[in-house]
């Protein structure tokens, strides 16, 4: 098959990163609402906290996938974020339920600003990595397919993907 495991990893990462982008946008909106008084911090934390672990797990999941696929460069690019996630979750406030956000401290201006900044940074990171995965997927696919006589349509797709990535 032209479809190697690495290509599969990239394709999966592409899809999952799209999901993470939505998470990040949701996060940013939520904190903006908090800042503008639209939401009660308890409700907001209750909606945000369940999303924290899934996000971290998704990211962890495709990091593991890249590790298995021996995509070392991609893994290295993701390691800082992985480490940040581990640190962030280790240093979370005392909570009995999963999550990061404590409604009693979330309104503290420092924490609020930090969370907002974190949201924007993550959004940027996920967007960049989305295009990186797209490129990686195309690159691997091309190299595989060239070796295995891939049909034109595939080649055209890869070309298109490359172009869009420019």
């Amino acid at each position: 098959m032209a479809f190697t495991f690495a290509a599969f990893c990239y394709m999966l990462a592409l899809l999952l990163t799209a999901a993470l982008i939505f998470f990040a946008i949701w996060h940013i909106i939520a904190f903006d609402e908090l800042k503008t008084d639209y939401k009660n911090p308890i409700d907001q934390c209750n909606t945000l906290n369940p999303l924290v672990l899934p996000e971290y797990l998704i990211h962890f999941f495709f990091c593991v996938m890249f590790f298995c696929a021996a995509e070392w460069l991609t893994l290295c690019l993701n390691l800082p974020l992985l480490a940040y996630h581990v640190w962030r979750y280790m240093s979370r406030p005392v909570m009995s339920c999963p999550g990061l956000y404590d409604p009693t401290t979330i309104m503290n201006a420092d924490i609020l600003a930090y969370c907002q900044k974190e949201g924007w940074c993550k959004l940027a990171f996920y967007l960049l990595s989305f295009f990186y995965y797209l490129y990686g997927y195309g690159f691997i696919f091309t190299s595989c397919s060239s070796a295995l006589r891939i049909n034109d349509s595939h080649r055209a797709l890869v070309f298109y993907l490359r172009m869009s990535n420019m």
């Binding site: 908090l34 800042k35 008084d37 009660n40 911090p41 308890i42 406030p93 005392v94 909570m95 009995s96 404590d102 409604p103 009693t104 309104m107 503290n108 201006a109 420092d110």
Partner: protein, 1237 residues
């Protein structure tokens, strides 16, 4: 115009009026005035001249204010206020509670009695209010002189001696009142206020007529209004109504409608005012005109005050008035005072009535209200309609009234003048305290009326502020100057504002800013290296508080700011918000000034004359009907608790204070005990004895019976008493050592969630069963570790989550921890921290072995049970555009960026707020902060207490330093350090504190100080900063190296977060005085007692001497240290012991047997024996004076030089070196070292 005394009258009156028909009344008045003028003018000297007003206002203000306000409020809502107000007053001053109510009448009676009113006079207000009011005023004037003296604005009142006239009047009034009005039982709050009421009382008598009349009238009306809430009000209402009726009886017309009366009265008053205005108008208006127009924001306010004062000066009559006037002048304040006076009474009592709203509601309500306000008619609609059709009547009567009034007025005027003349004489009599006011007013007068900006800019220059500033900026080399302490405890620095603004600015005890000059930009703030923040004590027990009942609470349409003294009136119909600068319309209702009873003087309204006011909120401010007072007591009855023996003392204390629990007829109580199971008590009315229901399933707690566990206190009082009597014995044999605190709290939450209220938890050990169980985390070996301290944060979030649930259901949880073992306060305190409760901790509590703690427990409990309480409260803090709130400190839940949710609010907790500057403040010269606390009083009324603080904005670093408030900065830094030590670690927090000093010195050196001195140079305003920081580092909360139990450390942190500034500063840096050689030099003379004022001493052992006796005031506790060679005369005369050796080592902690034997009347406050020697009297006078305004009375410990207790005394000597901490001098050198790095 309004500024003058009228405002005062108006304020009180106005309230009632406001609520009702002001609008309607006004028109007639206008008509009237024209007519009346001629006649009036003669009096004019009196009225016409601003002075008159001033004079009136002043006196009236005080007196009136109290009564009037009360009445007003009452009128709106209830007898309660009256009763409350009166009660306190009565108690203190007058024996008869009724008198106060009556009081008004008396006032009115004497002069005006002539007309209709003997009855009226008392009731005057009621029926003929308008006329009466006039009368009242007139009489007032006459009477005033005497009263005037009394009518000191704030607490000075006490000084004033009542005139001879009073007695008869009072008696009459009393009689009337007594017959008419049953004296209400004083609420718990009432006692606090009595002082206020006194002053007011006298004044009230004068003003009282007005106010009372109003109030009565209103009250009469009120009942009707009350209709719905009757239960709550019923007690008070009846009383009020009855009195009113008699009054009405006299005057049929008045009977028409109390409201009408109120209107009428107002109308009359207005008429007078109009006249006045006409007279004044030329003068005052012009002045106003300038002011208002010119003024950007505060200007409007200022002008009035200024004018009155000027007027005073100008006319002799005014001078007379001055006496009165000074009060009045002194402020808008006087006017406000008047309002406040009434309010005060109410306020104290006020706790009784109120309506709260949620903020959101408030806002909505505000909008609606504002819309309603627009038309005069709306006003009547809301209340009048409620009252029951009084409204329609009111209109006609008011007209009649006005007519009648005029005649009266004429009478009154002649009288008045004499009175004024008398007034001056009285002034002479007036106590020195007056001088203060007088001066203030004079200054105002003397000043021209520049624009606000000019004013603010020039303020410093005019009144000697520059000198202050220079003094504050004087560079102080800390390494050279040894004597830094002022002779008397440090006062809050005064903001560099115009005298006018200063006068109306919020009291520093309530509202304080770390920088009294706000830097223009964040960059400037950063350069100064000082924190910007507010310290708030919003629900403080106030002696005077204007309570405003108005259909329309005037608020800015865009930012929802409440109208306040610092807004600008662009013209008669528009005002400009001082926070967001939006231009708003002045609603019609607001055009009428109840204090002066004039129309068209919105800037004289009490809201605009007082920076602290309380509004009775309408239903717009409620999300649900106001809750009743509900108290649940959750008691630990495990073996440990029985051993400690607290239960008996708790039950005794509660039995004693059962009737003083704040509340009304709806008050409900419940009890719940727990060990390894949970016990509920069925107290349903009709049972022969309390039933205990045991729930042993602590994993899934359920409530065994839903209606009978929380019972109406009134109906089930016998059962409650039964239970409290038998409770201590019931568990005396308990062998159960486990404690299921978590499940018990869950049960309490379920029990309370339908209503909300207050849960009081007594816990004596670590919770060991069920949800929320905790493990011991403290390692005793680490207690004196100099490394980080672990476990300052909670071990579980169970208590936090439960607290948030409680907060959502409006349940506040207060925790009493009486544990001799580690009980993990860090986790347990969360239950109070986030539900806006309070935490009390008694380490090593034992009823036999630790009498000192027992005594403290009993005292605290008494205060706790009887103090005011507000339910379902929210507090919003607004600030001038450009400033924003960074972080809150205290016990609460932050619901949005500027909104605190407070399930309960109590008068002893304070808050701190860190601020940041987001946008440059360059476009305004003033920065304002407004804190609005919306709560439900224990009488089921929604109320809004609004505090507004105004500060100048500066763009020079030196000005920032000149205005720095070192105490506030220290307290804010302490709060920040606590946060840091919990979120990070203790050594970080300590480093941050030291860095704060280093940064300040560095910043000052590089930016301001031109002197190239070596050493540590700081501005004089901050000279105590390093000392305070050092003291902070040596506090239990933040110290390292000294053995400190974890719970005690955590408790100290809780205290830092919630104690008001004064109390906190005494804990951090106690006041030390030498007691054995006190002289009368500089002593205060209060009433009959002489209070010596010894100088403050530095907290260093070198200031002690063996032959002296020293008193250390640590806030919660006094230490009296007796040197070995102490003068025997002192020991004998003060302690009652023959010599040093015979002083018992534990004297003071318990009432010493010796003292008790000698004199059974040992004062509860101080345990220094009451001996008849002059020295003892002076010492006790001083001690009592120190304790005067403290919520929790302090215990006094006598410490002998050789006693083991010496260590506790010496640990407070923060300037000395201790085993693990630096001395002050070493600390300075350390700072210097850090600077050079």
């Amino acid at each position: 115009m309004s500024a003058p005394g009228f405002t005062n009258l108006g304020s009180s009156v106005s309230y009632s009026q406001n609520s009702t028909p002001n609008g309607g009344a006004a028109p007639p008045y206008q008509n009237g005035p024209a007519q009346t003028y001629p006649s009036m003018y003669p009096p004019t000297s009196y009225y016409g001249a601003p002075p008159q007003q001033q004079s009136y206002p002043t006196i009236p203000a005080h007196s009136t204010s109290v009564p009037s306000k009360a009445p007003i409020t009452n009128s709106a809502h209830s007898a309660n206020y009256y009763q409350n107000n009166h009660q306190p007053q009565q108690q203190q001053q007058h024996h008869h509670p009724a008198q106060h109510h009556v009081a008004p009448s008396p006032y009115s009676a004497p002069p005006r009695s002539a007309p209709p009113s003997q009855p009226y006079a008392t009731l005057p207000s009621s029926a003929p209010p308008p006329s009466n009011t006039q009368y009242n005023q007139q009489p007032f004037q006459q009477q005033h002189p005497p009263y005037a003296t009394p009518g000191s604005y704030y607490g000075q009142q006490s000084y004033h001696a009542p005139p001879a006239q009073h007695p008869p009047q009072q008696q009459q009034q009393q009689q009337q009142q007594s017959s008419l009005v049953p004296a209400p039982a004083s609420g718990p709050g009432a006692p606090l206020y009595p002082i206020v009421s006194y002053p007011s009382a006298p004044g009230s008598s004068q003003y009282g007529t007005l106010s009372s009349s109003q109030s009565t009238s209103t009250s009469g009306v009120m009942p009707l209004h009350m209709g719905a809430p009757l239960h709550q009000y019923s007690t008070s209402q009846p009383a009020s109504t009855t009195p009113v009726q008699p009054g009405y009886g006299v005057a049929p017309p008045s009977q028409m409608a109390p409201t009408v009366n109120g209107q009428g009265s107002t109308a009359q008053t207005t008429v007078h005012q109009h006249y006045d205005q006409s007279h004044q108008a030329p003068q005052s208006y012009d002045s106003y005109g300038r002011v208002t127009h010119s003024a950007g924001g505060a200007d409007a306010d200022r002008p009035p005050s200024g004018t009155p004062s000027t007027s005073v000066h100008s006319s002799p009559g005014h001078h007379q008035g001055m006496q009165y006037g000074y009060v009045a002048n002194s402020g808008a304040s006087s006017a406000s005072a008047a309002t406040s006076g009434p309010a005060a009474a109410p306020s104290s009592s006020s706790s009784d009535d109120d309506d709260d709203e949620e903020e959101e509601d408030e806002e909505a309500g505000g909008d609606t209200s504002s819309s309603t306000t627009g038309s005069a008619s709306p006003v009547p609609n809301s209340y009048d309609s409620l009252e029951g059709g009084s409204y329609p009547d009111s209109m006609p009567p008011s007209n009649d009234m006005t007519n009648q009034a005029q005649p009266y007025g004429s009478y009154g005027y002649p009288n008045m003048q004499p009175a004024y003349r008398q007034g001056p004489a009285s002034h002479a009599d007036a106590s020195p305290t007056h001088d203060l006011y007088g001066q203030a007013s004079y200054q105002q007068y003397s000043q021209p009326f520049p624009n606000l900006s000019q004013l603010s800019a020039a303020l410093g220059g005019l009144s000697g502020v520059p000198e202050l500033e220079v003094e504050a900026l004087r560079p102080v080399n800390l390494l050279q100057e040894r004597n830094l302490l002022p002779p008397r405890p440090l006062e809050a620095p005064e903001p560099n504002l115009t005298p006018d603004l200063k006068k109306v600015n919020c009291s520093p005890q309530t509202f304080r800013c770390t920088l009294t000059s706000i830097p223009q930009t964040q960059a400037l703030l950063n350069k100064a290296r000082l924190p910007l923040g507010l310290l708030l004590h919003p629900f403080r027990d106030l002696q005077q508080l204007p309570v405003i009942t108005s259909n329309t609470i005037v608020r800015c349409r865009s930012c929802r700011t409440y109208i306040n003294p610092f807004v600008t009136f662009l013209d008669q119909r528009r005002w400009k918000c001082n926070l967001c600068y939006r231009v708003n319309d002045v609603p019609d209702e607001f055009m009428y000034n109840p204090v002066t009873r004039s129309y068209g003087e919105p800037h004289k309204r009490p809201e605009v004359q007082n920076s602290t006011v309380e509004f009775i909120a309408s239903s717009d401010y409620m999300l649900r009907p106001p809750q009743p007072a509900v108290y649940l007591f959750v008691l630990d009855v495990s073996h440990n608790a029985v051993e400690a023996g607290y239960l008996k003392y708790f039950c005794e204390s509660l039995l004693e204070n059962l009737d003083k629990l704040p509340g009304d007829t709806r008050t409900r109580v419940g009890f719940l005990t727990f060990d390894s199971t949970i016990h509920f008590y069925n107290l349903q009315e009709g049972l022969s004895q309390p039933q205990m229901l045991v729930v042993s399933d602590i994993d899934d707690v359920f409530i065994p019976s839903h209606d009978s566990l929380m019972v109406n206190l009134k109906e089930s009082k016998e059962l409650v008493k039964d239970l409290l009597t038998s409770l201590p014995a019931m568990f005396s044999q308990s062998r159960e050592t486990h404690s299921a605190l978590g499940p018990a709290l869950q049960a309490a939450f379920k029990l309370m969630s339908p209503t909300g209220g207050r849960v009081t938890v007594f816990q004596t050990q670590l919770p060991t069963l069920g949800a929320g169980k905790l493990q011991s985390r403290e390692d005793p070996n680490q207690r004196s570790s100099t490394k980080g301290v672990q476990h300052l944060g909670p071990a579980t979030d169970f208590y936090k989550k439960l607290a948030l649930d409680c907060s959502g259901q409006q349940i506040g949880v207060d925790l009493f921890l009486l544990s001799s073992q580690y009980a993990d306060l860090a986790s347990l305190a969360c239950i109070s921290k986030y539900s806006a409760g309070s935490v009390f901790y008694y380490p090593s509590f034992h009823y036999i072995h630790n009498p000192a703690q027992l005594e403290k427990f009993q005292k605290d409990l008494e205060r706790y049970l009887t103090r005011k309480i507000g339910f379902e409260a929210v507090m919003r803090i607004r600030c001038t555009k450009g400033l924003s709130i960074h972080t809150f400190h205290g016990n609460f839940f932050v619901r949005s960026t500027d909104l605190l949710s407070l399930a309960n609010v109590n008068p002893d907790s304070a808050f701190a707020v860190q601020m940041s500057i987001e946008d440059s403040l360059a476009d305004s010269s003033l920065a304002c902060f407004q804190a609005a606390l919306l709560y439900t009083s224990n009488k089921g009324k929604r109320r809004i207490r609004v505090h507004t603080l105004c500060l100048p904005v500066v763009n020079q670093l030196s000005d920032v330093y000149a205005g720095a408030d070192v105490q506030a900065i220290t307290c804010l830094l302490a709060n920040m350090a606590i946060d840091r030590s919990i979120s990070s670690n203790l050594s970080d927090a300590r480093d941050a504190l030291v860095n704060a000093v280093v940064d300040l010195v560095t910043a000052y050196k590089s930016n301001v100080s031109n002197l190239q001195q070596s050493g540590l140079v700081v501005p004089a305003s901050m000279r105590l900063f390093p000392l305070y920081i050092l003291a902070l580092l040596k506090q239990k909360a933040l110290r390292t190296g000294t053995s400190t139990r974890l719970d005690e450390r955590v408790f100290a942190m809780c205290e830092f977060k919630t104690q008001p500034l004064q109390q906190l500063m005494r804990m951090v840096h106690p006041d030390l005085y030498r007691m054995d050689n006190m002289s009368d030099q500089g002593a205060l003379h209060l009433n009959d007692t002489v209070v010596p004022q010894p100088h403050l001493l530095h907290l260093s052992a070198e200031r002690l001497s063996r032959d002296g006796a020293f008193l250390m005031d640590c806030g919660n506790v006094f230490y009296l240290w007796i040197g070995k060679c102490c003068n025997e005369m002192f020991i004998r005369d003060v302690l009652g012991c023959p010599n040093y050796a015979s002083v018992p080592p534990n004297m003071g902690s318990m009432q010493s047997p010796r003292a008790t034997n000698k004199n059974p009347h040992v004062k509860p406050q101080s345990h220094i024996p009451e001996l008849e020697t002059p020295l003892s009297e002076r010492v006790r006078a001083f001690l009592d004076w120190l304790q005067d305004n403290r919520a929790f009375s302090s215990t006094i410990h006598v410490v002998k030089d050789d006693a083991s207790a010496k260590a506790t005394f010496f640990q407070h000597l923060v300037e000395d070196r201790s085993e693990s901490a630096l001395s002050y001098h070493e600390f300075l050198q350390h700072v210097q070292l850090q600077m050079s790095k």
